[in-house]
């Protein structure tokens, strides 16, 4: 019986190792296609099919009108930012990425995004005035613009019209202050089935940040070095926010939330008011079984302010065809691109946002004008490379206020040293 010598089948192990090695170093992307056109890759974040159905024709339209660019869409599933980070380190980053206001400072600081001011100035077809100034400010960092605003939104007050009418409460007014807001919330809170527990609330607490800004306070000082949550305005605002749950009892407690989150609770009709961004209207249209509308958030003692929550398109520094990438983001954020998304988003393009094409759309909400006017008081987010860590720290302390386990002053006192420690660290980073 003769057996084949093992050594003559060395092909197999070598082939396996070869495949491994090639797979590792072979990860690359194409930059010029077979026809010599520049390849522009846009990484699109995870998106429900209904929204994809709106985007696909828009992208096809771009390809049709820009035949000299090979425009490709990379669909990212899972965690968008993590995926882009990995691609970046692997030197295969896409040309264009999606940016949210809170993520922008970190990405810009770490040198992954191209400043767009030069493109904006050089291009005769587009200028700064075409976009809402508050949105441009939101996506600027240290004086330079890094993201071209795509959809513009602030946290808007969604209110349940059926619930308001059932409880005899007048609709929210533009000049509502905190007192009127609280008053309405109290009237909307009731125990509907008589079991001794409240099952219908006036409002959810939504974000504590907005209340702080409305009262004239802030999270970090202007130079970004110190936490200023201990200012009387900030503490007062945080206490008001916590009191909505603990003292006035017009907002659901964590247990009441049934693990659904404030937004779901509102869309199921258990809460009278909630603040959310404009694109949530698509969810409301699908799921809400009541009449609803949007309104301005209540005006605080220091004025009306709402966090800017839109999105922007940015060009990565690894892009080899920044001019072609600019062609896309200019087109996409302008009237031609955003025209197809008017049903679910407010365009950052001023002309389009104020046009009948957006305002006169038949579906809910009726008060679309509010979404556009609200952009005047959009407040850019706290800009810090350590944004996530800062807010995790602050939120975990303020969490206790909301649960009634600490007063705002106590929570702030505990949070401040931690926040200052993180801020001191980021100072060290930028010096390097």
């Amino acid at each position: 019986m003769t057996t084949m010598r093992i050594s003559s089948s060395w092909i197999v192990p070598v082939a396996v190792v070869g495949v491994l090695v090639v797979a590792l170093i072979g990860a690359r992307r194409s930059y010029v296609d077979s026809r010599g056109r520049p390849v522009v890759v846009y990484a699109h974040p995870p998106c429900p099919p209904s929204l994809m159905a709106l985007y696909e024709p828009i992208w096809d339209e771009f390809r049709r009108t820009h035949p000299h660019i090979d425009f490709r869409v990379l669909h990212i599933t899972g965690k968008y930012e993590d995926k882009i980070k990995v691609m970046y380190v692997g030197k295969i980053a896409p040309d264009i990425i999606f940016m949210y206001p809170t993520a922008l400072p970190a990405w810009a600081e770490l040198g992954t995004l191209m400043p767009l001011d030069a493109f904006l100035e050089r291009d005769p077809a587009v200028s700064r005035d075409d976009y809402f100034e508050s949105m441009l400010r939101t996506f600027s960092y240290k004086g330079k613009l890094y993201g071209l605003p795509k959809d513009a939104s602030v946290d808007l007050l969604y209110w349940n019209r059926d619930l308001f009418e059932a409880c005899g409460v007048d609709p929210p007014e533009p000049n509502w202050g905190w007192a009127e807001f609280l008053d309405a919330a109290k009237k909307l809170t009731r125990d509907t089935d008589g079991d001794g527990r409240i099952d219908q609330w006036g409002t959810t607490g939504w974000s504590w940040l907005q209340w702080i800004w409305q009262n004239g306070g802030d999270v970090v000082s202007a130079d970004g070095r110190r936490c200023v949550l201990d200012s009387p305005q900030a503490v007062e605002a945080i206490q008001f926010w916590g009191d909505l749950v603990t003292r006035y009892k017009v907002a659901p407690t964590p247990t009441d939330m049934q693990d659904l989150g404030p937004w779901r609770l509102f869309s199921l009709g258990y809460v009278g008011m909630h603040a959310e961004m404009y694109p949530a209207v698509s969810v409301m249209r699908d799921y809400a079984k009541f009449r609803w509308d949007i309104a301005h958030v209540p005006r605080g003692p220091a004025g009306r302010v709402s966090p800017a929550v839109g999105s922007a398109l940015a060009i990565t520094t690894q892009s080899r065809h920044p001019q072609a990438a600019w062609e896309f983001i200019k087109w996409m954020t302008g009237p031609e691109g955003m025209r197809g998304l008017l049903s679910v988003e407010v365009p950052s393009c001023v002309k389009l946002a104020r046009s009948d094409a957006f305002l006169r759309q038949p579906e809910a909400p009726d008060s679309k004008r509010v979404a556009v006017d609200a952009l005047e008081y959009a407040h850019p987010p706290v800009q810090s490379i350590y944004y996530q860590e800062l807010f995790d720290t602050i939120a975990s302390e303020l969490d206790r206020v909301w649960r009634g386990r600490a007063t705002a002053a106590e929570a702030v006192r505990r949070a401040i040293p931690e926040v200052n420690r993180i801020l001191a660290r980021s100072e060290g980073t930028s010096k390097r």
Binding site: I6, Q258, E389
Partner: protein, 329 residues
């Protein structure tokens, strides 16, 4: 008889070949016992694994050790910071202590309960009940479910209003006028909720214990019975001593595993109410992938490694006193 002889003959022939080969290579054997071609074949065959291990195992481990002395935000090049990550972890960061406490709490309850549960179930399913295979399968099934799917299911089970757990408990709670436990929303009950969830997977330990129980010699039970030992004494004096190696294995692996609890916390609660479910590996993950602090996260990882090593070493040392290996007797 004939067959037996034939096989012995064949063995004899093979034996002769072996002798020949040995004599022929005896000179070479002293310097090169395996033979040059065989050695090359060995390396060729094992090379895919070696390459994989170096690239994806040892390489990253060493890189992580180096990174733990650096500051790296992923996008820019890392910068050397010496031991400042370790110093920050120990002296400046209150969340490290919180993370260690959370993980420790979880381990202290989940592992003993889990081991005891696995043993109990294994003993029950070591008897001749009807549908034994079905029962064993049912108990083992949860360990096959992916961590994420398990977390999603349990999140609904723990729902304070409509979750199955509270619906079952409600009649008893009402008797004493107690409120519904808020489980994952409560800073006090969130970790116990995780412990309860970990008990769902006792089937994994059950399999190991079944193997251990079945290796207990029957004659010892019979001898004990003859001497008048009831079931409890039989368990204490026959079963328990003999399966101490299995218990040791289960406890040690259980501790190593629970120190690294991550998936469920990541999916269900994140850091949880007042950071009560901020487990160590979750905190590590946050630092690495959300806070742009890869260097610090690497330092956290190595500290965890050292902690687990020490705990395991202590377990082995203590094991000399209570683990009985039959072979040694």
């Amino acid at each position: 008889m004939t067959q037996h002889n034939q096989s012995r003959d064949r063995e004899g022939a093979e034996q002769q070949d072996l002798e020949t080969m040995k004599r022929q290579s005896s000179r070479a054997a002293s310097r090169d016992p395996m033979g040059r071609e065989d050695r090359r074949d060995f390396w060729l065959f094992i090379s895919p694994w070696v390459v994989g291990f170096l690239l994806f195992g040892l390489g990253p481990i060493v890189a992580s050790l180096v990174l733990s002395f650096m500051q790296w935000d992923i996008f820019r090049s890392p910068g050397w910071v010496g031991s400042s990550n370790y110093r920050e972890m120990v002296f400046d960061d209150p969340l490290t202590a919180k993370a260690i406490w959370n993980t420790f709490f979880y381990t202290v309850f989940a592992v003993p309960l889990g081991t005891a549960g696995s043993l109990a179930v294994a003993m029950l399913l070591n008897t001749k009940v009807r549908g034994l295979a079905v029962w064993r399968t049912l108990y083992y099934l949860p360990t096959v479910v992916s961590g994420v799917a398990m977390a999603v299911i349990w999140r609904w089970l723990f729902n304070p209003q409509i979750g199955l757990l509270n619906r079952m408990l409600r009649p008893f709670l009402r008797l004493f006028d107690l409120p519904d436990p808020a489980w994952l929303q409560s800073p006090v009950l969130a970790k116990p909720a995780y412990v309860i969830m970990s008990l769902w997977a006792i089937g994994g330990g059950m399999i190991i214990f079944l193997a251990g129980l079945q290796s207990v010699p029957q004659h010892l039970y019979e001898a004990a019975e003859i001497d008048g030992a009831g079931p409890i004494r039989r368990f204490r004096h026959v079963t328990l001593p003999i399966i101490t190696p299995v218990i040791f294995f289960s406890l040690t692996m259980g501790i190593i595993g629970s120190f690294q609890i991550f998936t469920q916390a990541y999916v269900m609660t994140g850091a949880g109410p007042e950071n009560s479910t901020l487990f160590y590996v979750l905190y590590l993950f946050d630092n690495a992938f959300r806070y742009f602090r890869m260097g610090y996260a690497s330092a956290l990882a190595w500290v965890l490694f050292v902690i687990i090593m020490i705990v395991t070493a202590v377990q082995f040392a203590a094991g000399r006193f209570w683990v009985f290996y039959e072979q040694e007797a």
